[in-house]
């Protein structure tokens, strides 16, 4: 049915548009109704085939993924008398908060906030004599999953404050905040692909350690204790380098009381693109 436009009949803007576009309103409505019904029918069919519909008894039904934010997955690894520890954190994409203050008797408490329950990371624990090795690893994309796939992660990991620790942190993309001031480090290795890193060692009172921080793209902020014996060596690509409360010599910084002969914390920072701020606090 083609809409007729005659000079003596007043047409609204909508009618003029329909006449101009040669869209038949009745047909348009029918098509929209058909598309709506068929789309919802197919959606529910797929949900039914994938087991999402009807919901299990006692579970409220929703088309949308239930957010894991409200019920994060939490794992506690007990220290079991370990004399030293070795922790490897591997996060593909997400946000990492790593800090001290694990519960009493625990070596590590990992809390993972993820919208996808199946994307809780793998956590392995291996006690070899008095040495405890713990690895927390994101599963990664092994295949395209049509019915349930990834979403951003936020990991919050608390570590024991007393056990000497080798800490290895690897993040593909995302921001990392490492508040390590209360830990007792022996080595620290941080590898970040893209994202900002903030490492706070401002209140560090543990044993001496060596650290290597590698960041591809993003800003690095490093806080060290003002009265420690610390040397920071920077290797940078593109970006600003700012130091505060430290003695600068080219791209190296030392704390005010730096004495090479005494036990020394050495921190090497390799930066691709982004600014670097080192500060003694």
């Amino acid at each position: 049915m083609k809409p007729e436009v005659t000079g003596d009949v007043y047409l609204t803007r909508g009618q003029r548009f329909l006449a101009w576009s040669k869209i038949n309103p009745a047909r348009l409505v029918m098509w929209l109704v058909a598309i709506t019904i068929v789309s919802f029918a197919l959606g529910f069919l797929i949900l039914a085939l994938s087991g999402g519909f009807p919901p299990a008894a006692g579970e409220p039904f929703s088309l949308f993924r239930n957010s894991g934010i409200h019920a994060p997955g939490s794992t506690v690894i007990m220290s079991d008398g370990a004399g030293r520890g070795d922790v490897t954190v591997t996060l593909g994409a997400g946000k990492l908060d790593l800090l001290g203050g694990a519960p009493a008797g625990a070596f590590m408490e990992a809390t993972v906030f993820s919208k996808a329950p199946e994307w809780q990371p793998d956590i392995t624990r291996n006690l070899n004599g008095s040495s405890l090795h713990v690895a927390i690893t994101e599963k990664g994309h092994t295949a395209k999953e049509w019915f349930a796939v990834d979403s951003p992660n936020h990991w919050e990991i608390r570590l024991d404050d007393t056990i000497p620790l080798d800490l290895d942190v690897n993040v593909g993309a995302g921001d990392s905040r490492l508040n390590l001031g209360t830990l007792n480090l022996t080595t620290l290795s941080v590898n970040n692909g893209a994202g900002d890193i903030r490492i706070d060692l401002g209140s560090y009172h543990g044993s001496r350690f060596d650290a290597e921080i590698v960041n591809g793209v993003g800003d690095v902020t490093l806080l060290v204790p003002r009265y420690s014996n610390t040397r920071i060596e920077i290797s940078r690509g593109v970006g600003d380098l700012t130091g505060s409360g430290l003695i600068r010599e080219n791209d190296s910084f030392t704390t005010a009381g730096y004495t090479p002969a005494l036990p020394l914390n050495t921190i090497r920072v390799k930066q691709g693109v982004g600014s670097i701020l080192v500060e003694a606090v």
């Binding site: 007043y10 609204t12 109704v33 919802f40 797929i46 994938s50 999402g52």
Partner: protein
Amino acid sequence: MTQTEQEYIRILRNRLEGVLPREDLEDLLSDYSEHFRIGKASGRTEEDLCRSLGSPEDVAREVKATHLVKKAEKTRSCRNIFHAVIATLGLGLFNLVFVLVPFIFLVVLLAVIFLLGVAFAVFGPAAFIFSLLQILGIPSFAIWQSPLAGAFFSIGITSFGILLIVAAFYLARFFYHLGIRYLTWNIGVIKGAEDIS
């Protein structure tokens, strides 16, 4: 109370100038002048004729309301129907209940349907993009329980949103026609009541 023909015509002219087209206004005023002429020829006083015609302000309000409703009927626009409703409100305080309340209710109803339609029509494509990102395995907000089903739901939501917008358009047309008939009936009832009194 107006007591002379001259004053009566002057008030009518003042109230309706700029509202009615000049030709219509002159026709109307000439009708009233004729009424006065015939009345006076049959021995009635101007004061008596003024009293029998009713207050010129009320007459002007009725003429204005009738004219604006006819204008809104002839030329459909939000502005015209709004002016017609406002003019009809001036005919009596009770029209606040019988005209303004239904008018506001319908406007809000249509606005809600339209805005819901816009919201669905905007959310649908955005949700479709999220479902595609989920399907392709690109990290994003996994909003759908099942991304493949989500893609179809997104299409359904989009088309439902467009349907609501179309429905708001046709409902607006329907209520417009209904509103004009109701306003015409309302003015007729008021005129009738005044004629009886």
